[in-house]
């Protein structure tokens, strides 16, 4: 009786076909190179997308604060310029509300207390515009525009009966160094007129974005 181990098997152990090996190595290299390319693409695309989402969220939230709240304190236009940084803790452009007959001078940024949502105060807009050179950085802080190279441009336009005219412009418009520009548009009333508030938040070319 023959056992399996005694069968004569033609063995080719350890052989490598050169053509197969070459094709496999080339394929492997192609996959590696493609993977590196995809990885760099994904990292760059994700980063740019994160920046855009960040700018969009900041733009939306800052515009909401401006047109839905009076700021803190609510009468912040009466604060002297020297005390502006230490006293004003929130910027809002809506007219100050009267609550149960009392002027809400201590601020009523909570929505329940503010009946003047979207009704803007022209004095507050003028203050922002007149002191923008001195206070621009503080405006950015108060509006939460704090990312690297982030800037803003606030445009307030009034309806003249046939079109919207720009009444005020505060901040820096996007220039050639801008990479992303995100804009939030809100509709409001100013002195009884239809008003359009456009807040552009944008970022300058910095670091990896410039490469």
């Amino acid at each position: 009786m023959k056992t399996v181990s005694s069968i004569n098997i033609p063995s080719k152990q350890g052989q490598i076909f050169t053509v197969d090996a070459a094709i496999a190595v080339i394929t492997f290299i192609v996959i590696i190179i493609a993977s590196i390319g995809v990885w760099e693409y994904v990292v760059e695309k994700t980063y740019l997308n994160e920046v855009r989402n960040d700018l969009a969220a900041i733009s939306r939230n800052a515009a909401a604060v401006l047109v839905e709240t009076p700021g803190i304190p609510a009468n912040w236009t009466s604060v002297s310029q020297s005390n502006f940084n230490s006293t004003v803790t929130s910027l809002g452009l809506t007219a100050s509300s009267s609550i149960n007959g009392q002027d809400s001078t201590l601020g009523s940024s909570a929505g329940f207390m503010n009946s003047n949502v979207l009704v803007l105060d022209s004095q507050k807009i003028e203050f922002l515009e007149n002191f923008q050179l001195e206070n621009y950085q503080r405006y950015k802080e108060l509006l939460g525009i704090l990312g690297p190279g982030y800037e803003f441009n606030l445009k307030i336009s009034l309806w003249n009966g046939s079109a919207y005219d720009i009444k005020s412009q505060i901040g820096h418009p996007p220039d050639i160094s801008s990479v992303n520009v995100l804009q939030s548009t809100r509709l409001a009333l100013l002195d009884g007129n239809w008003t359009r508030v456009q807040l552009q938040v944008w970022n300058r070319c910095e670091g990896v974005l410039c490469s």
């Binding site: 350890g14 939306r60 409001a188």
Partner: protein, 136 residues
Amino acid sequence: LFLKKGVIFTLDAVIALLAASVIILSIYLLIGNLSDISDGRDLQQIGQDALTVLEKDGSLAYAIQTKSNVTVTTYLDELPAQYCARIQLLDSNQDIQFSAVSGGCGNADRLAVSRRIFISERKTYMAEIETWIKEN
């Protein structure tokens, strides 16, 4: 039995290349199609703002009283260029009392709807606005 220990099969490499291509293509398509999720929210916001402004400046009440849609239509026509809107005013029986739509707008691909209650001549009305992105 015929053993081929240690041989590299070309077929394996080709399958690996195909699999890698599919994965890479999928990643490109997924990343490339990342869209701005804020579109829907912005549509809703513009609609709410428009209703608030038109209610606070008295245009909605005026439209109910005069049955004239000139003011409201003008306002809708002057929305930011990419937006279209349609407003309906309904009474407490849900009957349409008034309707206005911005000009130059086709059908809506994706709608956002906002509503606001207001009072005119001691009657309660509901304003409903549909907003959508204008097709190019």
